[in-house]
C-alpha cells in the first residue's frame, strides 16, 4: 500500500461540512477589524514613545557617518561608526517565561528596515545579491556566505562577504548539484552552518558527500558521507561533524582531508524552553546565543511557537521574542554571531539584526536585496569575527 491509500482513507473519514455560514464569516471580519483597530492604537502609542529615542540615536550617529570612506565593495557603502551600545532606553522586559525575562522585537507591524542602524561592523547597509561582483579570487576568508535558492531547490548563485564588507561571487558551476533530503524535498546545499568559524572554508551538502571550498587555498575538495545524514552537518573543532542518525547528537567528525577522526556527542541546548535551531555562538565573555521556537508549554500563550533568540549568561536565559507574522516561518531567524561582547546578530528574513543584550534594543545591521520575490530565497551562513 502507498501514501495514496492513506490519503484516500483520510478523505473518506473526513466529516462533511458543506454547510455555508455567512454569519460566521461576517462575524470573523468584524472581529478582525476590531482587533486591527485596537492593535493600531497600541502601535501608534509605541511609535510615539520611540521617536525621541531613535532621534537621539540619529544625532549621536551623524558625525561619524559623515566621514564614511569610499565604497569598498560593488554593492553599497559600509558605515564606519563604532558600535554604539547604550543609546536605546531601557524599558525592562515585556514578559517572563519560567522566570526568564522576555523582550519583544520586532513587534507586529514593525518593519525591521525602519529600525535604527547598528554600524561599525564593516558590513554595508545593503548587500545586493544580484549585483555584478568580482569572483572570490584573492579572498582568503569570508565573514558570510549567502546562497540564493530558486523554487526548484537549485542553488543559483553564491555570494561571499569579505571582512571589509565587499561582496564576491563564488562559482559553484559543476561543483555543487541540486540535492534533496530524505523525504525527497528540495534542500539547499548551503546551510546556515556551512561557513567554518574562522571563515576560511565553506561546505555544501551533496548526496552522500560534502563539497568544501577553501578560500585560502582557492581549492575544492570532497568528502564522502553516509546518505542523508549530512543534512545537519556542522563545523566542530576544525572538522565537520556528521550525525550518525539524521538530527542525532552522536556522530563522526571528519577532518578536512575526508578522513574520519572520532565519534563525538554534541552538547545539548543551553535552555529547555523550546526547540533550539541554527548555529550556537559564544561571545568572548562566554555568553551563548542560539535561536529557538518557544515551547507551547511556556505558560504564556502569546509565545507558543514563536521564534526567539535566547542568550544564556551564566546559565540564565534572556529571551528576545519576534512578534511578527513575517518572522513566524520555520527557522526564520538563526543566530549569526556576536558583533560586540554584548551584541548578538541574528537573521530576520532578509535582514541581519543586532540585539544589544539584555535590553538596549534591536537595530538593523544589513539587508540582503536582489532576490526575485516569490521565486528565490536565501540561506546565509556567518562567521563574524570574535568579539
Amino acid at each position: 500500500m502507498t501514501d495514496r491509500d492513506l490519503r484516500d482513507l483520510f478523505r473518506e473519514a473526513a466529516p462533511e461540512h458543506e454547510r455555508p455560514d455567512p454569519a460566521a464569516v461576517d462575524r470573523a471580519w468584524r472581529d478582525g477589524l476590531r482587533r486591527r483597530a485596537g492593535h493600531r492604537v497600541v502601535f501608534v502609542g509605541a511609535v510615539a514613545a520611540t521617536v525621541a529615542t531613535v532621534a537621539g540615536f540619529v544625532v549621536l550617529g551623524r558625525p561619524s557617518s559623515q566621514v564614511a570612506p569610499a565604497p569598498t565593495g560593488p554593492t553599497s557603502t559600509p558605515s564606519t561608526q563604532s558600535p554604539a551600545t547604550k543609546d536605546v532606553e531601557d524599558d525592562g522586559p515585556d514578559a517572563t517565561i519560567g522566570g526568564a525575562p522576555v523582550w519583544i522585537s520586532p513587534h507586529e507591524g514593525e518593519d525591521p528596515s525602519d529600525l535604527p542602524l547598528f554600524s561599525g561592523t564593516g558590513l554595508p547597509e545593503e548587500i545586493d545579491l544580484s549585483a555584478d561582483m568580482p569572483g572570490v579570487g584573492e579572498l582568503s576568508r569570508a565573514i558570510g556566505v549567502i546562497g540564493v535558492v530558486g523554487n526548484d531547490g537549485e542553488l543559483s548563485r553564491v555570494v561571499a562577504i569579505g571582512p571589509d564588507g565587499s561582496a564576491y561571487s563564488l562559482d559553484i558551476d559543476g561543483r555543487v548539484e541540486r540535492v534533496t533530503d530524505q523525504g525527497g524535498n528540495a534542500m539547499s546545499p548551503l546551510s546556515d552552518e556551512g561557513l567554518s568559524p574562522d571563515g576560511t572554508r565553506v561546505f555544501f551538502r551533496q548526496e552522500r558527500a560534502l563539497v568544501v571550498y577553501d578560500f585560502s587555498a582557492r581549492a575544492w575538495s570532497e568528502m564522502t558521507t553516509p546518505q542523508w545524514t549530512a543534512e545537519t552537518a556542522r563545523w566542530l573543532d576544525g572538522g565537520i561533524f556528521v550525525p550518525t542518525e539524521p538530527w542525532g547528537s552522536v556522530g563522526t567528525v571528519y577532518s578536512i582531508d575526508g578522513a574520519r577522526s572520532e565519534l563525538r556527542t554534541l552538547r545539548t541546548a543551553e535552555w529547555d524552553g523550546g526547540e533550539a535551531y541554527g548555529p550556537k555562538r559564544s561571545s568572548s565573555a562566554g555568553d551563548v546565543a542560539q535561536s529557538y521556537f518557544l515551547s507551547t508549554d511556556s505558560g504564556d500563550d502569546r509565545f507558543a511557537g514563536v521564534n526567539a533568540v535566547v542568550v544564556t549568561v551564566e546559565g540564565r536565559p534572556r529571551i528576545l521574542a519576534h512578534d511578527t507574522y513575517d518572522l513566524r516561518g520555520k527557522m526564520c531567524c538563526p543566530v549569526a554571531g556576536w558583533l560586540a561582547p554584548t551584541v548578538v546578530a541574528f537573521q530576520a528574513g532578509p535582514q541581519l539584526l543586532a540585539w544589544s543584550v539584555p535590553h538596549e534594543g534591536v537595530r538593523r545591521v544589513t539587508e540582503l536585496t536582489g532576490l526575485s520575490f516569490g521565486e528565490e530565497s536565501h540561506v546565509a551562513s556567518w562567521a563574524l569575527p570574535p568579539r
Binding site: 500500500m1 502507498t2 501514501d3 491509500d5 492513506l6 490519503r7 482513507l9 483520510f10 478523505r11 473518506e12 473519514a13 473526513a14 466529516p15 462533511e16 461540512h17 458543506e18 454547510r19 455555508p20 455560514d21 455567512p22 460566521a24 464569516v25 461576517d26 462575524r27 470573523a28 471580519w29 468584524r30 472581529d31 478582525g32 477589524l33 482587533r35 486591527r36 492593535h39 533530503d181 530524505q182 523525504g183 525527497g184 524535498n185 543534512e231 545537519t232 539524521p246 538530527w247 526547540e275 535551531y277 521556537f293 507551547t296 508549554d297 500563550d301 507558543a304 511557537g305 514563536v306 521564534n307 507574522y325 513566524r328 516561518g329 520555520k330 527557522m331
Partner: protein, 171 residues
C-alpha cells in the same frame, strides 16, 4: 453596514470558499466538532485582522498555521481526555467494511499526541509538504519527519487493521 469595500468582498469570498475545508481539518485535529467551530472562527478572525497583507500572499497557509498552533496551545492549557464527537459516517451494508476502517482511523488518531495528529492530518488530508507542515506548526522539517515517523509507528500499533495502509516511511 460598511465593512471595508474591496477588502471585505475579497475576504468574504475567500472565507466562504475555504471554511468547509478548514472545518474538516479542524475536526480531524480536535476530534470535536464544537471545538473545531471555535478553532476555525478564531483562524478566520486572525486572517481578517491581517487581510490587507495576507490577501495577496497565502491566507490558506496562515489559517492552517493558526488552526494547528492554536489547537496545540489549547490542548496544552486543557490537559484532559476529550471524547470524540466527530460525526459517525452513515452505515449501509455495502460499505460496512470501509466505515469500520474510517472509525478505526478516527479512534486511533484521537489517541496520538496533538503534534503527531497534526502532522498526519496536514500531510495526508491537506496534502502539505514537509516544509509547509513545518511552517504551519512552527517547527523544523527534521521535527516533522521524526514526528511523522513516530506517528505512523504508533498508528500501526493502535490500529493493526490499517497496517496495510500505513507506509513504513514517510515519503
Amino acid at each position: 453596514m460598511k465593512h471595508g469595500g474591496a477588502d471585505y468582498e475579497s475576504f468574504t469570498a475567500w472565507a466562504t470558499a475555504r471554511r468547509s475545508a478548514l472545518m474538516r481539518t479542524a475536526t480531524f485535529l480536535t476530534g470535536d466538532s464544537a471545538r473545531a467551530e471555535d478553532l476555525v472562527q478564531e483562524a478566520l478572525t486572525k486572517v481578517a485582522q491581517r487581510w490587507p497583507r495576507l490577501r495577496d500572499q497565502n491566507p490558506d497557509a496562515y489559517a492552517r498555521q493558526i488552526l494547528a498552533r492554536d489547537n496545540i496551545s489549547w490542548w496544552r492549557r486543557n490537559r484532559h481526555e476529550i471524547s470524540s464527537h466527530v460525526p459517525e459516517p452513515a452505515r449501509t451494508p455495502s460499505i460496512e467494511a470501509r466505515v469500520e476502517r474510517r472509525l478505526v482511523l478516527l479512534d486511533a488518531l484521537g489517541r496520538l499526541t496533538e503534534r503527531q495528529r497534526s502532522v498526519l492530518v496536514l500531510r495526508y488530508f491537506d496534502d502539505l509538504s514537509e516544509a509547509d507542515i513545518a511552517e504551519a506548526l512552527g517547527v523544523s522539517t527534521g521535527t516533522v519527519k521524526s514526528t511523522a515517523h513516530l506517528a505512523l509507528r504508533r498508528l500501526r500499533e493502535l490500529a493493526p487493521e490499517l497496517s496495510d495502509l500505513l507506509p513504513l516511511e514517510i515519503s
